[in-house]
Point group: C4
Chain length 233, copies 4
């Protein structure tokens, strides 16, 4: 049962379990994948398996054309979306999809999450984009593949970089987040949920709450990112 | 103390304890039943027993005419509603009733829960129906039996199938959910509560949030249900 | 160290710890007392002692004129309110005061909590009353004693029975609840918090949500209370 | 590895861990410091270290001019704000900064938190002040140092005493709280979050909820503070 993908499966397994521990999923409403760029494959949660039953050995290895390379179980039903993102965004190492509550509420509202404060600006300088629901023919076609296209179209239309904005809402569906590895994509999913709740409460308190001023956006983002960052070790 | 219904009681007991673990009940505000179609009886939680004290042996066996077949304790005060649903809906195997917070809030608002997103569409294609409060004479009569009639009338009036829509709100009261077995009815109760919270937040963010488009409803429901489903193992 | 009030202290201690376990208090923001009618004394939490440090021996015994009968520590700063209620309401056995979140929010809004559903009607048939803030001279005088007077005045003005309505909000302050013993007063405090949250959400969803109809109020209350009740064992 | 600051580090470490246990932070979104007035230094959390990995030995010792006196790790990115407050406010012994949810929502709304009830008045007699966002040149300059100036300016403009009002919101950022020691500053951070949630809910229920009347503010504050206080032991 030895596998050249043992470490990749383990990374993917741990990130999926972290998703559960952080309260971002109930039942099977989410999935995390981790990529192996050298072999052009990724590890992903099997479809519909409850977290309490999940084992590292259950993780499925898939290539970027959605062929199952290793694994007994059917991979996540969202696998084609992951594959499309890995294929088109060479710098990402992990992807997380959830139905976390506040992120879904914004997605169902079909609204970008405005940048209201420094918690948001510590992680990205733009509003968190909400991709519009797909056209009917794309939904009826290769749906999960087209979901990937929809995300890339959204980033192109809004002139966003996937390396700076590591999260997106799919209108009427929910969030996807990514990062340099699977754990970082889970982290970004949690940040998104926290920021989504803060933005929700802010608008309830003050429907006219102003967007964060540019100088604060710049300051906080640069504290954590880029060559002059001074946050962390 | 051996009983031909030992396994049925155990199934019912475990589902009731799951209800508690999922945060869907406080104190004794809920009950789960499990049916044995072969013997035309069901197992149900005894009335007013706290979950921390509940034992599998406490579970009561009742027939579809509300006669106690086995058990020392009085069955749930909602027993007649369960009996009516089992008698009239031959395909269900378990029923759950709770007073979970967001589902009750919608029930108290006397509003159906609109289908706003794919979390909802993954489980049903209709708005979650809210049955109107009963007429006074039905309340003053055989109340819990009439509650069952009220649910069936609601499904008839809205032209819904109990096999596709496995949950309902009772106006000013709270939710009932059902499924192929007791565990599935608890699952549906949790899904209802999650969807109720998401719909609540969505309307707070965007009072004009649109209903999910038909193509997405169809796509997500069919991913999980029917002959071409491809979710799960 | 033996005490004739050992059992009373233990009852009071356990009820206070339950308050903490139910999430109704942070830090020292609450207190429970238990009465001994035979000896006309009650046991109450000492003032300002964190729950994690509380021991049954710390509980203070006080008479209805606020004299300390037994105990090394200063009793709760709200002791005089408890004493006044025990003195004037001979049928109650325990009292709980908290600053639980949703109950406080209604108290700060100076509004009664409308009876919107059966969760509420299972416990009382009236709106949960909110006593108005006291006149300045009563606040500046014997404040905690006058708080008791304010509660009784509220019940007199609204023509309520303390045996049927076992809870009240103090305007701009928070809830008091009582019952046949200390544990039941904690139970009523939790019910109040749950009902307060449900009513909050209901009004957010539907600002015109109607009050529960009289026939349902009567039915649900009488299921649980009175000579024809059929809830519980 | 013995250090003259061993106890100070331990105090700081325990207060930081408490912050995490109280649900006031996710990941590394917060920091606590503890001062040693005799040596004019303070202990502070290292930057970007997750709470699950934090050890007492990781705590960094810094003087009031931001020089690192002891420690292998880089101190919190907010260190200069802590230093400025310690230097200018001689009576404080600990400082806590968080991004707790409701406090951030008010900060993002750029609104003071109105004093609506006695939970608030038990701790301070003023609205919880929200300092406006800084001018661009202060943000672009010595940002964390200027944050300290911004807090002191806010207190001067509103004529507040830092010894009576032990908390502040930074507009579009989040809360700072302080107290006689590190543990008390964490306590005040939790009180702020609780009061922020209560005030949020109050305004949702009743947008015209009145400010607490002066006699109640005075009474509750003086129960807990000053020479005639009678709360606690």
């Amino acid at each position: 049962m030895s596998s050249k993908y043992k470490d990749l499966k383990q990374e993917c397994y741990e990130a999926n379990m972290q998703l559960n521990a952080l309260g971002l999923v109930v039942y099977t409403f989410g999935n995390v994948s981790a990529v192996d760029r050298e072999n052009s494959v990724f590890a992903i949660k099997p479809s519909g398996v409850p977290y309490e039953d999940l084992k590292a050995d259950d993780i499925v290895i898939v290539d970027f054309d959605n062929n199952i390379i290793e694994g007994e179980l059917r991979p996540s039903s969202d696998t084609k979306t992951h594959a499309y993102l890995y294929k088109n965004w060479p710098e990402i190492g992990g992807i997380t999809h959830t139905h976390s509550t506040y992120a879904v509420a914004w997605a169902q509202s079909q609204l970008d999450i405005p940048i209201f404060g420094t918690t948001h600006a510590d992680h990205l300088t733009a509003d968190i984009p909400c991709a519009p629901p797909m056209a009917d023919e794309l939904i009826e076609g290769n749906y999960e593949h087209n979901t990937g296209i929809q995300i890339l179209d959204c980033f192109k239309n809004k002139n966003l970089s996937y390396q700076e904005v590591e999260m997106v809402l799919l209108g009427n569906h929910g969030p996807f987040a990514w990062g340099k590895n699977a754990a970082k994509s889970v982290y970004n999913s949690k940040v998104l949920e926290v920021v989504a709740e803060m933005a929700y409460l802010t608008r309830q308190i003050n429907p006219n709450a102003p967007r964060l001023k540019d100088s604060l956006i710049k300051k906080h983002y640069e504290r954590k990112h880029g060559k002059n960052s001074y946050y962390g070790q």
